[in-house]
Amino acid sequence: MEKRDVIKQYHLPVEVKFCRKCTISNQRPRIKFDAQGVCSACNFAEYKRSHVDWQQRERELFELCDRHRKHNGEYDVIVPCSGGKDGGFVAHQLKYKYRMNPLAVTWAPLMATEVGRRNLDAFIASGFDHILGTPNGKVTRRLTNLALRYLGDPFQPFIYGQTNFPLHMAVKHNVALIMYGENGEVEYGGDEKNALRPDREIEDHDKHYFSGLSPEFWTEHGLSAADLRPFMAPPHEQIVHNRTTIHFFGYYKFWDPQENFYYCTENTGFTPNTERSEGTYSKYASLDDRIDGYHYYLGYIKFGIGRTTSDAAHEIRDGKITREEGIALVKRYDGEFPHKYFQEFLDYCAITREDFEGIVDSWRSPHLWERVAGDWRLKHVVWESR
């Protein structure tokens, strides 16, 4: 398989540096480090704690809800969720604290886990209207195979669909307001231009989530426009006509995923996993898709950033663990290969183990990886930095 130019594709810096406060490196696409060597996500976390008037923000939320609330029994807010702790928290708060009438929507995982399905059912049972969008299984598998081969990420089509499905639902149900949890780019280090606003432009999705490949590419590989339609956004005129607006709950309320987890165990029947997810120590984040692990693993190959690095970075910024503990966790678990669903994953994508290994190797950039005594090793690791 042809070697990829990760640096060029993702505009990565050649020299690897680690944030002084958390475990993330500058290889995370779009993240920025300041002059003190602190990443933008850590700086934002600090900003959240010290410079935001949360009472004022809540007032804005009340006002927003007052503007959108419908008193005729129709839905007035779309809450994208997955059965997990974040969507659950947002939906529950909007319904019970802010007296809205939410419609929760989930874009179906590629291969649902038992715990994921159980949590989604528990969430619905706890008292929410919910729509599950399940695209054509055959098409989804083909897209996943192509994304894996050409983008080195089997998850891309899912992310497409997951991003656009709420827009479809908003238009179809005449709901203008879509409320996401956190603004990922802002909280986790990326495009910061929306840090000071509660919402974002609807065009922005295209820039970030498609990794430079157009829908037309898929058409060339035997997928028709009809096949792709559920994954694409509805026609822009419809979005505008519907006065669709995307807001982030994390702008209005101090975002703390671990607290969302506890909130959901008490209010929406959420139960964490009893065993940790492969590749990390966490038992309560990102539990619903068996393919998840391979998305994170490929991220580890491309950027040297595995699931543990991300989970630990979040928890450090939220004050749940110290950097020392985060580093120890990264050393212990980062890059652990997700064995549990490997065969199922290969079957789903209709590829062989050799295919997969070839794809993986094509994404190993020499600026990150070296071969030592027959094994691949990261040249730069956080526990040896500084």
Partner: protein, 256 residues
Amino acid sequence: MRNVRLIARLDVKGPNLIKGIHLEGLRVIGSPNEHALRYYQQGADELIYMDCVASLYGRNSLREIVQSAAQDVFVPVTVGGGVRCVEDVTELLRCGADKVAVNTAAVARPQLISDIARRFGSQCVVLSIEAKQLSPGRWEAYTDNGRQRTGLDVIEWVRRGVELGAGEILLTSVDREGTRRGFDIPLVRAVTAEVSVPVIASGGMGKAEDLVEVVRQGEPDAVAMADILHYQRSTMQEVRRAAQAAGIAVRACEPA
């Protein structure tokens, strides 16, 4: 009828008392010593301190915790987490601990149990087991604060541990702990039926009735509780009274 011991369990990370669900999502609750003192004053029969980052770091910080804990607390104290060798045990006993719990290091080197028992006596060695259900009637032992599988069958491991000299078993259900859904009774029953040393049931206590249920059906010698105390949903006095009202033999105790 033996008195069932009511034990307050404190999971500690650095300077903080923490609590999670399934041993994860660890939330900071407060100062370990403040809570320990309060539980002692409420009439806890024993305290257990577990250092839950010790295995991760390859060292434990129990010394400091135990030294300051033993100050005004006059009931037995068991400490665990990252205990790796006999020297660790010597040190911890010197600092005021009465019993020492081992898990990860014992799985790696079972001989450690005998080494400690021979030197300090079996009554000093607690084998800590984190059990997760594989299928009805079968559980697997975990280490590293519920993060690593061992492939060991809990019943076989507990038998072996006692043969090697463990004087007590601290049995934690990974499936139940932090959930407040009650104890894993089949697990407790299977272990108490297997060994003749005292067994402490831990993990899942949501209300006092859970204790009554596990004692009646699982027959442990002691019950450890954490969540219910740390979140102040009940006190040791209330739990004791509920046990007495249900006819369970517990120490008759006036709170300090």
